[in-house]
Amino acid sequence: MYVMIQERGKGAVMFEWLNVMREGVSEAWMPVLQYISRIIVPMAEGTIATLQVFIITIVLSIPLGLILALGRISKFKILRDVIGVYIWLLRGTPLMLQLFFVYYGLPNFGIVFDSMTAAWIAFVLNYAAYFAEIFRGGIQSIDRGQYEGAKVLGFTYWQTMRRIILPQVVKRVLSPVSNEAITLVKDTALVNVIGVGELLRAAKIAVSRDAVTSPFIVAAVFYLVMTFVLTKLFNYLERRYAIYE
């Protein structure tokens, strides 16, 4: 054996050794891979619930946040104050508490939602408050000259907002919005406290049933894939908006 190795030279030895390693490793990993293939279906189902909360929250909280932002800077003091209190409440208390309130608290007032509905209602209301502040900051960062430039051309307030101000705001808020979107992917894990079968819950069920930790790793990979896609998407948007300035 030793002689044989001597004859074949160093490179071949290395190759041989790697081969042994690979076979050994893949044999050792076989049961893990088999196990993962068993739990992947429930975890994928959990991911669908996660994506559901994510998409509904993004689709509804961004427009709601924009409306709140416009109200927050309107000339009506009462409206400004009411929205100010709303933002203070929603940003000032834990999201989990808000989830509990919508799911367990509102039924006391005769308002009952199933767990998924309660989840996205709480998320939409909460994220809208954060988006409102991001958009308000974005709108107020636009130079006053832009409003004046539009005004002297005869634009109404809404034409100015829609055609001149908001398109510029989009570019400025992209990076904070991308932050929020990535946080939201992970915050969706919270909804398992009211019994929504999302990704982390699927992992937890597998972990406690089978007394292994690999489902957590699989869950982490799922989250990483989702945030990776989001990061790429926002990078693309930022590049697209970089054509001016």
């Binding site: 832009q146 002297v152 001016y244 300035e245």
Partner: protein, 252 residues
């Protein structure tokens, strides 16, 4: 015909009196230059004419239409926002800082208002915009963004943008003050061309050469008042007032 008529207008910012009873008229085809030291209220006066600032007392008429009239208590009363927009749309304005829309190309900057506000057909708006760009010598920049232009080019685009709304009065608020000295000439040239077409113009400026050469009338303002007005030949060579003379000695 009186294109602009302001009567006895007063304006304060937080108790600081900026305009103290200004009255003036601008006739059709006339080029009026407003000069004076900084803080004299000349920019504020211009901004009051097209409602970028509101006045406290006095009245303003554009082409005979009132946008603000003096009430019984002496305070100014404005007509409705819609009417103000309609009347003020007869004026075009050029700012010191251009205020171009950075997210729109040069061409888009010019056609935006005709399409959105004027409801002009897009193809027609583009056609007219290209004509205006040719006039200000920037047709080759039609697809550039403002950030890719020099200050002088930006200001010429801003002039074209204002002209696209076919105003009968052009207001210029220190149009060359933000420009490097070597770039002021190209902007003043465009303004001079406009003056030769008998556009009614009010120009707040520090360019005494332009005021002297192009203006039909020069108004000298100081401390919120019109100190003196008259033909440039008179104001620049034989001013009647000491303050005018002192100012001109400083800047000339």
């Amino acid at each position: 015909m009186k294109m602009i008529e302001v009567k006895n207008i007063h304006k304060s910012f937080d108790g600081l009196k900026v305009l103290k009873g200004i009255s003036m008229t601008v006739n059709k085809g006339e080029v009026v230059a407003i000069i004076g030291p900084s803080g004299s209220g000349k920019s504020t006066l211009l901004r009051c004419i097209n409602h970028l600032e509101t006045i406290d007392r006095g009245s303003i008429y554009i082409e005979g239409h009132a946008i603000a009239t003096e009430g019984k208590d002496g305070k100014s009363q404005y007509v409705s926002d819609r009417e103000i927009r309609k009347i003020c749309s007869r004026t075009g304005m050029v700012f010191q800082n251009f205020n171009l829309f950075p997210h729109r190309t040069v061409l888009e900057n010019i056609i935006e208002a005709p399409i959105i506000v004027g409801k002009v057909d897009k193809r027609k708006a583009i056609e007219e915009a290209e004509g205006l760009l040719k006039k200000v010598g920037l047709l080759d920049k039609r697809d550039n963004y403002p950030s890719q232009l020099s200050g002088g080019q930006k200001q010429r685009v801003a002039i074209a943008r204002a002209l696209a709304m076919k105003p009968s009065i052009m207001l210029f608020d220190e149009p060359t003050s933000a420009l490097d000295p070597e770039l002021t000439g190209e902007v003043l040239k465009v303004m001079k061309d406009l003056a030769e077409e008998r556009m009614t113009m009010v120009v707040v400026t520090h360019e005494m050469g332009f005021a002297r050469e192009v203006a039909d009338r020069v108004i000298f303002m100081d401390e919120g008042e019109i100190v003196e007005e008259g033909a440039p030949s008179v104001i620049f060579t034989a001013p009647a007032m000491k303050r005018t003379e002192a100012f001109l000695n400083q800047v000339l």
